[in-house]
Symmetry: C2
Subunit: 895 residues, 2 copies
Amino acid sequence: MKSTYSFEEGDGGNRKLLGGKGAGLCEMTRLELPVPPGFTITTDVCTDYYRSGRTLPDGLMAEIKSQISKMEEKTGKQWGSKDNPLLVSVRSGAAISMPGMMDTILNLGLNDETVEGLAGKSGNLRFAWDSYRRFVQLFGKVVFGIDDSLFDNVLKAKKKEIGAENDSDLDADSLVDITRKFQTICQERRGSGFPSDPTEQLELAIRAVFDSWMGERAVVYRTKNKITRDVASGTGVNVVAMVFGNMGDDCATGVVFTRNPGDGSRQIYGEYLQNAQGEDVVAGVRTGKQVHLMREEMPDSYRELASTCEKLENHFREPQDIEFTIEQGRFYLLQTRSAKMNAAGMIKTSIDMVSEGMIDKDRALARLQAEQLEQLLHDTLDPDKSSGHKRLAEGIAASPGAASGMAVFDVKRATESGRSGNSVILVREETKPEDVPAFFESAGILTSRGGKTSHAAVVARGMGKPCIVGCAGLKIDYASSRCITADGSTIKEGDVITIDGSSGKVYAGSIPTIRPQITSDFKRILEWADEAKRLGVRANADTPESAALARQYGAEGIGLCRTERMFNGSDRIGLFVRMIMAQDSEERKGLLEELGRLQEDDFVKIFEAMKGYKVTIRLLDPPLHEFLPNPEEQAARVRSLEDRPSDGSPAASERELAEARTVLARARELVEVNPMMGHRGVRVGITYPDIYRMQIRAVFEALATLHKRNVEVYPQIMIPQVSSIDELDHIKRIFDEVREEMEEKHEKNLRVNFGTMIEVVRAALTADELARTAEFFSYGTNDLTQGTFSFSREDVEEKFIPEYMAKGLLERNPFQSIDRTGVGRLIRLCMGLGLKRRAELEVGICGEHGGDPNSIVFCHGEGLDYVSASPHRIPIAIVAAAQAAIMDKSKDGER
Amino acid sequence: MKSTYSFEEGDGGNRKLLGGKGAGLCEMTRLELPVPPGFTITTDVCTDYYRSGRTLPDGLMAEIKSQISKMEEKTGKQWGSKDNPLLVSVRSGAAISMPGMMDTILNLGLNDETVEGLAGKSGNLRFAWDSYRRFVQLFGKVVFGIDDSLFDNVLKAKKKEIGAENDSDLDADSLVDITRKFQTICQERRGSGFPSDPTEQLELAIRAVFDSWMGERAVVYRTKNKITRDVASGTGVNVVAMVFGNMGDDCATGVVFTRNPGDGSRQIYGEYLQNAQGEDVVAGVRTGKQVHLMREEMPDSYRELASTCEKLENHFREPQDIEFTIEQGRFYLLQTRSAKMNAAGMIKTSIDMVSEGMIDKDRALARLQAEQLEQLLHDTLDPDKSSGHKRLAEGIAASPGAASGMAVFDVKRATESGRSGNSVILVREETKPEDVPAFFESAGILTSRGGKTSHAAVVARGMGKPCIVGCAGLKIDYASSRCITADGSTIKEGDVITIDGSSGKVYAGSIPTIRPQITSDFKRILEWADEAKRLGVRANADTPESAALARQYGAEGIGLCRTERMFNGSDRIGLFVRMIMAQDSEERKGLLEELGRLQEDDFVKIFEAMKGYKVTIRLLDPPLHEFLPNPEEQAARVRSLEDRPSDGSPAASERELAEARTVLARARELVEVNPMMGHRGVRVGITYPDIYRMQIRAVFEALATLHKRNVEVYPQIMIPQVSSIDELDHIKRIFDEVREEMEEKHEKNLRVNFGTMIEVVRAALTADELARTAEFFSYGTNDLTQGTFSFSREDVEEKFIPEYMAKGLLERNPFQSIDRTGVGRLIRLCMGLGLKRRAELEVGICGEHGGDPNSIVFCHGEGLDYVSASPHRIPIAIVAAAQAAIMDKSKDGER
């Protein structure tokens, strides 16, 4: 088995074997673009490395030696030579891009001898030692795991000693001294000398890259981004001949997008730095110049860059994200990959590329990340309510959307505070890959340094979090946990600020936000998706308002209307509790009638909002004790009433106390050990049939009302928590009685479908029986997942699911993305049984998975009729449904 | 479709269509035994009756008319005739015998005219009116649902009026008067006159019998006895020409068994009464005479009875329970059915009938009710400890076994007290079918009247509850809730007494009991069963003692050893809690080592008790919070420590308080919303790997110890609560590490199998994956049932499962008998997946279902290798396993 491929040999289409970066380098080489020579170690080697307990396969180093020889030939330089040394960079690259998550080492091959060669060849002693210094620092950090601050302290001390302000003010002698000190640090850590043999350096570097694949950062990133073993099983390693952007002013390095990733407009977009190495741009250490300035400063290179961009786009039919270096006027490409953009950018480029004839509509849809589209439905600042708020600062608008929260200056504190439910704005000078966990927990990110391609900007955009970078007006003092704005105001940790990632502005206090309208581009995409998809998309909506919003976003009906939410209004909960507490059936009946009228009114409004569509109404689901105070709280209330000093109205307080005691007794009576698996759903309907009767009657009454107004609507009644046909039939009899009563009363046929949730495992297992009575099924995959795993979501999701994912025991959180192996097998079984019994059975899903793109692909594949998702997930669901259909088509094509 | 069959027409083998009683009557008629003419209305008519909303099918009454005509021909009597009237009894009879659970009406056809005919024909006016009076009373009770006490009051008043002591002292005139008053009671209830038309009477009676099928008594009986719709879907109705045992001293009625149901010995056993109707014997109103006395009193009839008994036994190859009536010297058979016996009787008759050559071993095994065998393992009084206890009374030993409990004289109070966990002895003059619910809740039953075939005796024997009847020395006063014994002692309600159903003796106070030894008959049966069965039978045993007991009962290994129970000893729980509370891993390690040594010692003893067999050890299963006090209790403890007045040792109490607070904090941290689906089983093993490591090590150490002693044993380690292969593999790695460590230490190969519980739905669904690593599966059907139904056993079993069963929404409690439709389908799926992956996979069951005969049949059918049950269920499991194999064989024979 071949372990390495030179860039000429590698198949640029095989990202799985070569990793994204390696495949890109091979493909560019094949296109005869100016790529430095080099080779890729395959991802299979990484997999082997882990399988064999972190050992490199036999023969690998020999193969690498021969690859190095080829590089020597092509570059004319020699490995380890003190005259004209071949130096390399060692870069990770998995099948799925994980920017910044794994490690890179530059200038590898330098030692006390080769540094002389580099100095001689470049004629620049300072450059050579600066490179050596950087190499030792990076190698120490990556290979020996040494904390960067140890190196930084040496650097700072030296600058202070010689009165230098910037790194660039350090002379060659200082750099020699620093390099020696760096090597001593490494030696102390390692227990032996800093490795001087380039091949030993390379082997250690390769191991370090492989190790970084299972580093905490990378594991967290894959987990959060749902990158599973089947799509990326390890990282490749790319060994590339070094080219230098920091050899003088005819040198530069830059990162550009072939189109603007913020809005998708067609312009080369990005930053470059003269006389710098690439990491300076990426890390945001120095703020880069806008790339269009290059046209003046380095016109030849700019022309070469522009034509390269066009060539790459035409080849990949996808905007690219490119890294280049100019060494003494010579242009080199170091990387190309599909550009990550925000949702607006993706949509614009999809539409543009179709207009340009570059791609067709299917490809335009397929390239979108459905999940990302939620960004477009993100909040913006309410302009009417921003006026009173003081503007504290302004930076570069790096990721759109607005957010308010407490300013927190520490990564760990931000993570913890966010996790415990606070809205947090992470405020830092710059961010690093190890800070990513805090991004997930923050509402927004604000940095004082860096540009649009800095780490903070790229990561925040990927996540759809509001982000402002390069906000130079802020002086952050970590020690005192505060920062001073340009005009001298102070932001202390915990002060609430608002950032607008679309304008780059930072405000004091919390500014209300508004939901955005759907743009015409987005509408166009949704129209295309609508044509392409097979699955229906309905909404989970419980109020007339959310029903209207769902329609606006393209929902074709309501797949889940949770009737219990209607009882939670402040005007109703009291009524409902009184019904639970009713002493006799007479009293209960009266209260139920009152509740029925309210519910009927809700139904009328929801039906109107959904006219022409199906509306699935789920009868009461939660256990009754959810509506009562918990026994501990109520006991405390009783105690406080008992202790209350007489206030002149003893009668009133006596009554109050008696009532409180009755509620306490009832709450205690209803308490359950495992409420998830207790007296809920249809079980409550069976014990208290009057509740379901009231709800069913309200649906029919509402339907009759709309009939009178000539509004077409198709209500469906759905029974929750069903585990057997006997339960379903029991309720069906009540349903039939009410229907007859209503049809008689209104002298009209009233058509309401009758169906069941499939959320109890046994329901899925006995679907053939249920389909005798049920006209439709709707998978309640939240509960089905709980039952299948015996996972109580409340108990496990925060507790051991993260632990399981960190330990590799779960690839995905099964509550976010459907578990195909277990729950999926159950659903497949259920589909077969149900459809065999009733061919016209309508089947949908209304668990949260209904809005998850990966789960939607599953639903498409299993032949469901529709998915139902919360309103703000509807556009995502529509696009994901289209992508599923397109995938299917292309598979058919392949056959 | 034919709705009725005369006894000549009916197929005596078709119990399903004709009901047990009807089939018996037809079969006896075919055997030319003296059965009065009559016919059976099929059980299908009953099913129709309910399907059509309680209406009788068209044409039924016409068919009945023609059957009545045939009866007129055979008897020479006329329907509704005032000269020689044909009277009938109307009796229920389902496919499965439900003694006393449904209604019977005698003397139907009587009215003011036919009563004259009966008087004339019998020459006995008093007899005629007594029959009429009885008919009106029974009809009023059964058809119109009138409370018996209304009639009783009239009867009592009349007796007082004329100074009569017994019913038999009432003269004809009094009976006329009583009959009229009874009719008035009926008229008031019905709102119109008492029906005089015999055909109308018959129709009403048939409806009443059908209605009684869904009466509460019958429903409860079916539920408790697990009689499901597939085996008995309705009752038949038998209309039989009346014969009278109460027309004079040449008349009699009796109930006998062809063998003694108490011990199985070969003798006609039972009671008869001269000049009485059958119900007098059954209800225990009058205490019958032992049947052997008949040999002297009515020698001809006795001979006829004896030869009939032999004929029936030879025909049915099963001891029979017979009802007969002698009318003016003529012998009639009114019923035959298989005799219900206690377990000892069944075993003895099985062995005897094989010796007699009447049946083969398979049939001898198949006829046993496996469930019933537990009786034989029931307690008897410890003779050494009975001496000091006063004997209060002595009655007829009606159902063996001994029990102590509070005497309760009221059926309802007994039910409630028993349900709330008290040991109760129900003490009554006699019992009625409506009292059966109290039987279930009582430890034993004691009546002052009735014989061995009285209601109390029959029902108690069926349930295996100790019972004494006919304890004439007791005078019960319901009003004051006490009774006086023959020697003048008083038993007040709530006094503790002990009854010995094997000797008939009643003692004051609570006498310790001892477990019985297995008799040689029982041993023989178990040997036969052992030969016949295919399934292995193992024990759920957690201590050396229960392991030894299980071996004695025939267990072939341990299927489930719950290691957590070993931590619950008073000397260990403290250690375990300290381990949970340990501040650091060092402290935890020390405590685990200590626990490990204790556990190792337990394993050594259990392995020794099971030498030569497999012992399956399940690692820690419950969540850790189960070992801590619950937060509320602990909070109370903290409060009380806080409030404790200083007692001179402030330091000690400070430390105590601090400790209590720490425990409270930990208990709060560990608390879960749904502990059933939370952090337990393998999930605890993953979070605290040192616990599992300790347990695995203890197993290997114990094995090594036994190797040194040359004791063969085959330990297996089983992981609970597994939901995925990743979890199982994670623990397998720990297992392998420990094995290597132990094999090195002991310089020996140590073989321990590694397997998994299948108790999480997802485990069953992904059995193919699990079987990659698991060498065996064991179904934990308790949890699997919970997960499949989303039933939390603690919450639903007492709350709505009874409601569901009463409403017909559940046929069986799925925690007692496996749910074949749902859980069964899952198990079938799992078997297929698991065995496909690993053909030699060993599969068993260790949930409570492993001791349930019905579930054992299922396990046999699904191809499991073994069942595992608690020690006292082992004999039941062995017999049930044999029966399953025999059933299989006979099915093969049929094919």
